[in-house]
Amino acid sequence: MHRSDAELYLRLLGERRLAVGDDDLRHGHDSPLHEAAAALVAVGAISTPHAQAVIDDYTLAAAVRSEDGHRQIGWQTRQRPRRRRPGQLRLSFTRVVPCDHVIEDATGTTMIRYVALGRTGVSLAVSHRANVAAGRRAGHGRAFGGMNVGSASTLPWGAPAPTLADDRGHTASPDFQGSWSDDSADGTLTAEGLSPATRWLELDGTQIMLDADPVASDVSLEPLPPMAPGEWYLWRRIATPGHFGGPQQLDPIIDALRAAGAIRDGDPALDRVRAVNERMPHHHFGPSGGAPGTRGLPEPWRSLLRRTGRAGGATGTVVLGAATPEFDGFRVGVFAVSSTEDGFTADVEVTPGHVGHLGAVSLDGAELAWWARDDRGNHHLGSSNGWGSSEDRGHGELGFWPALDRRDRRLELMPTGPTTRAVIGFELPWSAAQ
């Protein structure tokens, strides 16, 4: 398919959606046009800038036809291609230190779970639980997700912004990054200008020793088996379901791939992809909502979907500080993995970053799929619980499903790119205690 044919395909799709008043067109990152564009980019039919220009045009065309479209004029946030400089990708941390430090004050309980130290400064992973008896300040402007951030001199939970100091005499005021509600906050306190080699940190006068070691991990890279581009892209889309998860609307993607000649009617891969997609859960926890039955599904999907909604995982946190080599233009760092009854989470960092809408499929077709595999042969799939990103790095929390089994002794996280996956393996410390 020639580039101009691909662009015409997208523009005619945009015209069709505009003609029927499809309001989804306004949300360029989440529209059928975006899905088709990403598919055409993935199979090399059109470049990312050309595809993005078409999406921008029709997003704006839909906006000028809507009552509140003026909010989008001149202010659209566009995805920008990642800046990949092979061999120059650096993660922000050089060491990660486990740290179960608890601070009690009038606002509630704040736990510092680990500290990451590196070239860009120091980050403290914090979880705050409000002291209900202390009450909340009415009208403080907090809301989940960070809208109306409120006072500038306090943390989201109302405590005064703290001061951090290192053993070299440097001090800094950290920023909070994360999510919060009236009752809780989870994220990082990050400060620049502190020594990555410091032996301790002082948080508002309380000393936190940085002398514990993280759990050992082994990291390797595995090439993926070759696959036809169209089929590869469909599997990738199911594995990277965006912010809200659930089955994908595959038809616009398949139509675009068919138009590009990347997949043909009657291709048995289409049946396999559709069978898996129908069984993808609408919600990752609790009742699945997806179609029942997993017999005949290919791995890793079969073991993933067979255990959908399964709870009963062990509870605990593993601080890792693992870093991958560069693969497919990415480097990944894993700070920690936390398991609960319903699933498990991983605090991760990816470089380069990604500027665009949260949960949107990236147009350049190179986002990572977040697989995990336990030592009993079961697979788990992760997606963003909360994510922050710049062009240089993205970081946040991934939520994986289904839950780990209490009998699992080892876990491998597998951030998976277009051609290669990294495998970050580690023992689950709670298995030894059982």
Binding site: S4, D5, E7, L8, R11, L12, G14, E15, R16, L18, A19, V20, D56, D57, Y58, L60, A61, V64, R65, G69, H70, R71, I73, G74, W75, Q76, T77, F144, G145, G146, M147, V149, A152, S153, T154, L155, P156, A161, S173, D175, F176, Q177, G178, S179, W180, H357, L358, G386, W387, G388, G396
Partner: protein, 289 residues
């Protein structure tokens, strides 16, 4: 040969310019600020005084956007499809064009809580400013937006004829612009709507035979040049007396000058049988839609 704007009457919009209401008028292919003197002199005076003049900002926007093919994507496909944003709600074109721009709504669920700061909105890029100019012009009212579409369409029709270097890159957008207007016109004319009724529109060269036929599969297939937009659609001649217009040219006098009183049309009936010539005659000069 007639100017491309032959048959397009004047269009006029009123805008708030500093403390007064001023008129912007399009006529014979040119947009003018009627309540200002020489634009260059006024720009120099305004620059000296450190103030902006909204009428002149709109003239400048017109000059920059009169060949911007995105006007064909954003603008009207015909009656019943109109951008309807109120310019008063748009970000200002220049300081003073209006005040009180609405702050953008920041989206997402993961922000930096920066002591001493607030979430940073998406940047206002050159492309964003260009889009703002386009939307301002398309939503000004008084037919100015339609004249911008006609101007852009005529510019690219000429460039196609001349083999302009940028045509290859723009061709998909031009094809889609033609498709959109032909499809909207046919849907309304034939009363066939829905995705199943979408016609197939082929972009042909200006000299190739024009046609609208129904294929054996029942699908309508149109073969038209890009010129059709400026020549027919922009002039409100797409459907005349219940017939689809394939081509239109102004009636001329014996010396080849346009007499301003009519059109020679090639039209086709709803049964999509053979095209027939027709002449459309007015009692006086053509008036704007």
């Amino acid at each position: 040969m007639s100017a491309w704007w032959a048959g397009l009457g004047p269009a006029q919009a009123t805008v708030q310019c500093r403390r007064d209401r001023h008129r912007l008028r399009w006529e014979a292919g040119t947009l003018r600020a009627l309540d200002h003197g020489d634009p260059d002199d006024e720009r120099a005076l305004a620059a000296l005084g450190g103030e902006s003049v909204p009428c002149l900002a709109l003239l400048d926007a017109w000059r920059r956007r009169r060949d911007d093919v995105r006007a064909l994507v954003l603008g009207s496909r015909g009656a019943g499809d109109r951008p309807h944003l109120d310019p008063a709600t748009l970000p200002p074109l220049a300081p003073g064009t209006r005040t009180g721009a609405a702050a953008p709504r920041t989206r997402g669920a993961w922000f930096t809580y920066r002591t001493g700061g607030t979430p940073i909105p998406a940047s206002n890029t050159p492309r964003g400013r260009a889009e703002n100019e386009l939307v301002w012009l398309l939503c000004l009212g008084g037919g100015i937006g339609d004249r911008l579409i006609a101007t852009v369409a005529a510019t690219w029709a000429r460039r196609l004829h001349e083999g302009y270097a940028g045509v290859a890159d723009t061709r998909p957008a031009l094809h889609a612009a033609l498709h959109a207007r032909v499809a909207a016109t046919l849907a309304q004319w034939l009363g066939e709507t829905g995705e199943h009724a979408e016609p197939e529109v082929t972009l042909i060269d200006a000299g190739d035979p024009r046609s609208v036929i129904r294929g054996d599969d029942g699908r309508v297939r149109a073969a038209l040049p890009f010129d059709w937009i400026a020549e027919v659609h922009a002039k409100g001649l797409a459907v005349v007396a219940g017939r689809f217009c394939l081509a239109a040219e102004p009636v001329t006098d014996g010396d080849g000058h346009r007499d301003g009183h009519g059109w020679r049309l090639i039209t086709i009936g709803p049964d999509l049988s053979e095209p027939e010539p027709a002449e459309l005659t007015f009692g006086g000069p053509c008036q704007p839609r």
